[in-house]
Every structure is written in C-alpha cells, then in structure tokens.
Symmetry: C2
Subunit: 340 residues, 2 copies
DNA sequence: CGTTAAACTGTGATCGTTCACGGGATTTTT
DNA sequence: AAAAATCCCGTGAACGATCACAGTTTAACG
C-alpha cells in the first residue's frame, strides 16, 4: 500500500494559490481584508488540494480547544443516555466538540481531571451524579482554574452552577396522585441513595405522605440499583416487610418494569391490587403491561440547556468577562396511564 | 473574580527544577537518559506546580492525536448504546481518547468527516449502521488517506474491515426455535430495511422458513423503526394482513415489548396463542410479561474488540508498517424464556 | 498634484511540546 | 594512559496554524 501521505498544510494552499499563508488564514476565518479575487483563488486552491485546517494547530495558538468535557456515568440507563443525547445535539449545533469521559467510580476522578486539563477543554459539564463529598470537591477545585464547571442533577454547593430537574417535586406529584386514587399504604423503591437524585425522590415521597397526614416507616422502603431486576427483587422484599402495601412509587421506569413483572408473577393485579408509578417516562413505558403511570422529565432539554449555558459562559470568558450560570430546576410532570 | 491564570508550561517546570525543558520532556516520556537525582527533582517540580502537559502541543509535534473517532447514531436504542459502552471502556483502558460524532442522516457525513480530519483522529470506528451506498463510499474515501477505518455491523465491501455480529444466524436460530415449537405461521417485524442488520435478520428468517419447507409471503412481514410503539402497530398490522399468525420474530427487544403489549390488549395469550421472539437480549427483556425469548448478541464485546483491533492497526501504522483487520463475525445465541 | 486614508497583503514571532543533534563529564576498554 | 564508549543534559528547529505589526498599492480628498 501507499505510504502515509504528508498532510496538506496552509503553506501548500498558499503556494498553490500564489499568496501568503496569512492570506489563506484570513480566508479561512472570514476576515474582511481580502479582495474578492484573492478570496476566490484561495478557495479554489483549498478545494483542489482538499485542505482541512488542523484543529490542533489552531487550538495551540488560539489557546482555545473548542472542546467541552462531559463527565458522565454509564448510558445503559435511560436518564444518562437521554442527557447525553441532548448535550450532543446542542454541542453539534453550536459547533463544540465533546470530550466524553465516563466515570464509574470516584477513583476515576483523577484520571478524568488530568485528561480534561491535558486536552484543554474550555468547559466541563459534570453529569456524573455522585453525591458531593469533600473528596470530590477537591477534584473540582483542580479543574476549576482551567475551565468553568457546570453540574447536572447534583446538590447545589456553595457558588456552584447546577442545573437539574426537580426530582423532589416529581416524586411528590407521583405520590400525591396515588393518594388521590385512595391509596394509603404506599411503598417506595429508591435508586442508590448515594445519589442525590435518588435522595430527592425519596424526600418527595416523604413530602407527599407528610402533607396527607400519612406516617411512614422504614418498612415501606427498599433500595434498588435502577435495574429492572432490582425492581423485581424490590417488590418481593417490600411485600414481605410491609404486607399491607397497596401502591408503590418506583424511582425509575426500568425498576418499575421489574415491579410489574414481580406483581404479575405473584398474581397481584395492577392497578387493582397494587398501583405502580414510575419516574423517567421512557418511550417504552407506554408499552408496559399495564402501561405505566410515570413522571416525565425532559433530560434531553436539560442537556441542551447545559450546553447553551456553557456556550454563553465560555464566550464571555474568551472576551475576558465573567459570566455566571443561573441555577435552574426544570419542572417534571405526571403522565397518568393504566398502572395507577 | 481572578483573571484566567497563565497555563503552567514545561518551561516553568524546567526553570523550577533547574534543568532544561528537554530534560523535563524526557522525564515525562520515560526516556532513559536522565539520572535518578534529576528525575526526582523534576518530578517534584511537576507535582509542586501541578503541571499537566498539553495534549494539544504534543499532538502537534508528534503528528498523532491519540484520538479515535467514533461515528454512531442515537444511543436511545439498546444496541448502539451497548456498542458505545464497550468502545468507551476499551478505549479508556488502552489510553485512547474518543471523538464522538453522532450522525443522524447521510447528509451529516461531510461535517463528520471534516471534523474527524481536522481533529486528526488516528483511526475511525464507523458504527453508523447505514447501508453502504456509493455516496457513502465517497466519504469513506475522503477519510481513508488520513486514518484507517473500521466498520461495525455493515455489509462487507471490497477490502473493507468489518466486524459484526452474525445477525442472519441469530435470526435463523430464533425462527428455527419457533418452528421446533410447532409454529407454522411465523410473522416478521423488521427494523428499517435500509439498515444492513435489519436486512440480515430478515434473511435469517427466510433461511429458517426455507429450510423447514415453509413458504413465506409479503403478508407475513411488517417494517418497524426499532421503537416499542412501532412494534405495537406492527402486530396489529400483521394480524390484519395475516390472520393465521401463530408466532412472530421481532427484530429487536424494544419492538417485541410493543408486540407483547398489543397482544395483551387484543386478548391474545403469549405464548399460547402467539409466540414471540426478540433480538438483543437487553437486561429488561427478562422482566417483560411474559419474559422474552430472544437472541443474545454481545455488542459490548464487539465494541471492545473494535478498539483493540484499531489499537493494533494504529500502532503498526505509527511504526511504518501496514496491518490489516481480519473481518470477524461474533456468534449470537438464543436465550429461551417464557414468550415462546 | 500632493497628502491622507483605506484596502489589501506579507513577515516574523508565537503557542507548548518533542526531535535531531551535539557536547561535556564520567566510565570503560585496549 | 590515551581512545572509545557511555551517560547525562542542553540548544535550536519544527509541528501548523494565528497574531501583531508593517508595508505596498489604490482610492479619496482638499
């Protein structure tokens, strides 16, 4: 096979068009001070040589990489996948490249931070939904001098920019709905309680029970891991420790699927014997048996919003100004279907 | 707030350690010709200044970005998400950065190719599962001189490196299973037939029917779009145009969920009145009602394999050698559950 | 017609790192 | 003991683009 060809550079284009590299650069960047004739000649040269400017060389001199770092956890769950999709879409539209870093454990933070700094990202969207601990903050401090950080779905720390969905409100809507349907023994299957979003959903459940004057005990709560299978186990455990159960709020749709399955196996009829409400509103939820009542949260929009905010902050920063991100909570809404 | 601080460079470290930049570079890259004492001094300086070498400057001089481009389509479906997860994992392990490009339409190819070339990726994993047409090949040709390309789950073109799962075999296994269960009127709900994987699954269905001596007609086939909702519509359409239906092979699990839902609504009992087999084996499938018989394909492993192969090819290329990727098909396997 | 401004284009330095090369100090070889 | 080899470290150029500045040509004005 042929050997690796030398890259076409701006100088090749310049020579081919009979101008200087600077002029080619001006054409590339739409600077005004180029005559129409020259511009056309340069553009023809670019096309003929199939020249593509090196983003790397450009980043080096401009001290701006055009990249946004995204720190996320596994996208085998609906939420993170949706969020990432929104981020990706908006980033592409605004011309940003994403440097995706998957963290599966806080021990990854060091590697992630090192990589993001080395790649000189201009901003970081931190979508890894860990509880904010001192340990993590230390890493964030490492990152902060290099790039603004935007947190998604986390606890709002002091002076940190956080965007999220109002998980607590969503959960409350769900549980209030169950109460309105006459249920009084409402169980809860949570996500991993190390996560802020899972904690918030639990608080929402408590809020609703409290404002209806219903007491709650630990017997009503089981912790899952977001997976369908854990929802399945969760319902069995719940029935054992809290037999009077007549409804469950499940902290995500995937676990709710497991709950429906377990209920079916145990001969419980949903919603007659047991009402079920989920959280996420993934497209599949409408096809669960029975179709799932759930809380809709627009994580795609949240991802888009995050990138738009980041874009704003970075532009300000490039211009030497300082821009703050206004913390924001998106409102979820209840989607009522057959399971309640 | 404070102004943006100047980046710590290799020269700062050199000055701080009382050596030249070249020596610092040698320490960074584990070159032998540095005395232990100097090495230690440099490392201390690095730590004290929290110095992180600029990946950008390094890429420029080395003419190697350490990045692999990944072209994929939306990860709201299980397959692509799984694939991406595998790619990501292996890339992190081998120290590659990913430049993720999401294509939603062939019209995106130009932007994607331009970006990947500009970022100087050293290899491209093309996981966007479009049918290979001449139009696309042209874009691949554009990319090829810059970086080796590895295709996933596509038609093997002339001399192109393709890794995939044997979709056709998987589908055949599924349908043979239905035949072995005594079904004779086996419908098919396909994915978008512009996609190679969907075509292959259709061929597998035909294979199995043919080798069992069963004829098939167009009435037995409906096209979906991978979504649960389309599976739902699909079953209704199928029953209308082919009332003798006693089993369906559905080309992915998400559509199979829709099929189960529609069957339930129509009062069909699965598997008594209608057997259903899916494709993917997503974790949730075990919790469908009834639990879904499906074809397991290890896309995570495929993604990992793709990166390992790419790593091998790039290393060879850097060393001036030429390495080919051996085309490979992973074997799927049938997972029998309650729906058949 | 000379002066000034505007329009256009080129030169050299620069971003942060590594490569190619060279040279001095120390050790080993004959 | 001189020559050769080894070890250790530094200098200047290079990667491919842009920035700051300066120069040349053309148009506009009094």
């Amino acid at each position: 096979m042929s050997t690796k060809p030398r890259r076409v550079t701006i100088h090749d284009v310049a020579k081919h068009a009979g101008v200087s590299a600077q002029t080619v650069s001006r054409v590339l960047n739409d600077h005004p001070d180029v005559s129409e004739a020259t511009r056309a000649r340069v553009q023809r040269a670019i096309a003929e040589l199939r020249y593509r400017p090196s983003a790397i060389a450009r980043s080096l001199i401009k001290r701006a990489s055009g990249m946004i770092g995204v720190v996320a956890s596994g996208f085998h769950f609906f939420g993170p996948a949706q969020l990432l999709a929104g981020i990706e879409r908006q980033a592409t539209e605004l011309g940003w490249q994403l440097m995706l870093q998957v963290a599966t454990d806080p021990s990854d933070y060091d590697r992630v931070a090192t990589t993001l700094i080395a790649q000189q990202v201009e901003g970081v969207i931190w979508a890894y939904p860990e509880l904010s601990s001192d340990r993590e903050r230390a890493f964030h401090q490492q990152l902060r001098p290099h790039a603004p950080i935007l947190f998604l779905s986390m606890e709002a720390g002091s002076g940190e920019a956080v965007l999220s969905v109002d998980n607590r409100l969503g959960a409350r809507l769900a549980v209030e709905h169950l109460i309105a349907r006459g249920r009084r023994h409402i169980g809860l299957i949570t996500g991993p309680l190390t996560l802020w979003s899972a904690q918030q959903r639990r608080l929402g459940w408590e809020d609703a029970l409290a404002s209806a004057g219903l007491p709650h005990t630990e017997r009503q709560v089981v912790q899952g891991d977001w997976s369908a299978e854990s929802g399945c186990r969760g319902l069995r455990a719940l029935l054992q420790q809290y037999p009077e159960l007549d409804a469950v709020f499940v902290s995500n749709d995937q676990m709710a699927l497991g709950v429906l399955y377990a209920a079916h196996q145990l001969g419980l009829r949903v919603p007659k014997d047991l009402s079920v409400v989920g959280f996420d509103n993934m497209p599949e939820s409408a096809c669960f048996i029975p179709a799932l009542t759930t809380v809709h949260q627009d994580l795609f929009a949240l991802g888009q919003l995050a990138v738009r905010e980041m874009d704003r902050v970075i532009r300000a920063r490039r211009a030497g100004k300082q821009a703050a991100i206004a913390p924001l909570m998106l409102q979820p809404r209840l989607v009522v279907r057959e399971s309640s």
